[in-house]
């Protein structure tokens, strides 16, 4: 045993190998920690609920929620709610993001337009789109359009503000390079302003995505007869708390999924970072 220890000290590769192995173990431990916190909470919840330490009517055990999820899934009712919510989120997201990017780039590049429009943006931004829902319904009716517009409105602001900031913060030297090498306004737009502002813009889109989820649930609670938000609200009112939890878990799942998808996009779109 003692001899082996000495041998290790004399072999630098073996020493480093040992170090490396220790680092691997530490990393694996951290990974386990990351997974273990949600599992721990779920187990605790299950246990407390089953033993009656917390009220199972308000906090049904996770296994029961899973059971309800499967039941609702097999009846097909669940997927129509999910489908309609996803449709509203996507349509609203695009309707908000695309004009926000275009207008944001224009505002970033042309300072007179920026000075003219930014007070409007600043004044409108703090108003929650949800508070405008009654007006939106009066204008666009009770159908799908009003929900899509609500989402679009709430996504619009973080994206436009980040896009403008992204363009304004592009290092001056790149604008000088473009000007010196004779870039016309189209090239300024697509070769300098758009790629240069993209990192900050994508942060705004990430924020917009989170806000879109918050908004859809609230909007469907307030005025809809379908969707995940509607499911949560009606289940709550009928005291079907297991169904309500299914809705909440779905929202959490989609929020996480969208974040992952956008992160993936970010890495694809910014190979130069």
């Amino acid at each position: 045993m003692r001899e082996k220890h000495i041998a290790q000290i004399h072999d630098p590769i073996a020493v480093e190998q040992e170090e490396w192995r220790k680092r691997q173990i530490r990393n694996r431990f951290k990974q386990i920690l990351t997974i273990s916190s949600p599992i721990f909470i779920l187990l605790l919840w299950e246990l407390l609920s089953r033993t009656g330490l917390i009220d199972a009517r308000f906090f049904p055990p996770p296994t029961k929620i899973v059971g309800t999820f499967i039941m609702m899934g097999t009846s097909g009712e669940l997927f129509s709610h999910i489908g309609i919510s996803l449709y509203r989120i996507f349509a609203g997201f695009l309707l908000g993001v695309i004009p926000a990017i275009i207008l944001g780039l224009i505002m970033g590049l042309y300072s007179p337009i920026r000075h003219f429009l930014s007070p409007l943006i600043m004044a409108l931004m703090p108003i929650p789109t949800l508070a405008l829902l009654p007006i939106i319904i009066i204008i666009f009716g009770v159908g799908e359009v009003s929900k899509v517009v609500t989402i679009a409105g709430s996504v619009f602001f973080p994206v436009i503000i980040n896009t403008v900031a992204g363009v304004v913060n592009i290092d001056r030297i790149y604008l000088d390079v473009a000007k010196n090498y004779g870039a016309d306004s189209k090239n300024f737009f697509f070769k300098i302003a758009l790629p240069g502002s993209l990192p900050v813009m994508l942060e705004g889109i990430q924020m917009g995505q989170a806000i879109a989820l918050l908004t859809i649930v609230a909007a469907e609670m307030m005025g809809a007869n379908s969707g995940i938000g509607y499911l949560i609200w009606t289940s709550y009112k009928a005291f079907l708390l297991q169904e309500m939890y299914v809705g909440l878990v779905l929202i959490s799942f989609f929020g996480y999924l969208f974040s992952l998808i956008l992160r993936g996009f970010q890495n694809k779109l910014l190979p130069w970072r």
Partner: protein, 257 residues
């Protein structure tokens, strides 16, 4: 022979509420076609301002300048910027092709010239990578290739090697001289380094501290091709060196008073 660049009585004043600062005062210069001219002066003497005016990035307050156009389809000037002039979201190749693309040249010409100059600066293997993976010296090579590929009437260089370490500086100076001797472009080059100016120039213009004026010139007639060893060994160059050194010293002293 008419001058390639002729600058007449150029003055630039920066004005801010209540106070003004004269960056350049009555600068008049004639530069011949194919001449390599270096500007040396203390910091803040308006060298960069002069170059930016010629690069059309700044407007003169009074006075004017002309750059003679030899070929109709050539851009008048291209600038090699101080460090960081390489655009990070374009690959090495796209950076070198940048000026040509902006001028909407035919694709085959863009491709041909880009690969020619990538090869010249030894970056053909790095054509598809992004600048984040390049060293400082390689980035400046991209900058130089971009300017030469654009085939302008004159080249403007604003301390392109200032941020590099000594070895890299020597290598890039020699590479620059190689490419330059092939194209014989007219070059205006700003530097802080006397050695660099002696190695590169046909003529060195000495500038005063603020407000910037041209106060002296040195004609460097050392035969080309040159290298740093020859510059260091030549007694005339040593004399020039100490002259320029004393001039800079005086100007820095003046600007403190």
């Amino acid at each position: 022979m008419a001058a390639k660049i002729s600058i007449r009585d150029l003055t630039k004043v920066f004005y801010k509420k209540g106070s003004s600062m004269t960056a350049l005062q009555n600068v008049s210069i004639d530069v011949q076609d194919g001449e390599f001219v270096c500007f040396i002066g203390p910091s803040g003497c308006g060298k960069t301002t002069l170059l930016r005016i010629l690069a059309d990035l700044e407007t003169p307050s009074t006075g004017d300048f002309t750059i003679a156009r030899e070929k109709e389809d050539r851009p008048l000037q291209s600038m090699v910027f101080q460090e960081k002039g390489v655009i990070p979201w374009l690959t090495v190749e796209e950076n070198v092709a940048f000026g040509l693309k902006m001028r909407h040249l035919p694709k085959n010409i863009i491709k041909e010239r880009t690969s020619y100059y990538l090869n010249k600066v030894g970056l053909d293997k790095f054509a598809k990578i992004y600048p984040k993976d390049l060293s400082g010296g390689m980035k400046q090579r991209v900058s130089i290739a971009r300017a030469f590929a654009n085939d302008p009437e004159i080249l403007l260089m604003d301390e392109p090697f200032a941020a590099l370490d000594e070895q890299n500086k020597f290598i890039l100076q020699e590479e620059l001289l190689n490419i330059w001797s092939e194209t014989k472009k007219t070059v205006l080059f700003i530097t802080h380094s006397i050695d660099e100016a002696l190695l590169l120039s046909d003529r060195i213009l000495l500038m005063s501290s603020q407000p910037g004026r041209i106060i002296d010139e040195k004609v460097i007639d050392l035969p080309r091709p040159r290298n740093m060893e020859q510059v260091r060994a030549d007694p005339k160059m040593a004399h020039h060196f100490s002259d320029i050194w004393n001039h800079l010293h005086d100007e820095v002293q003046n600007s403190r008073e």
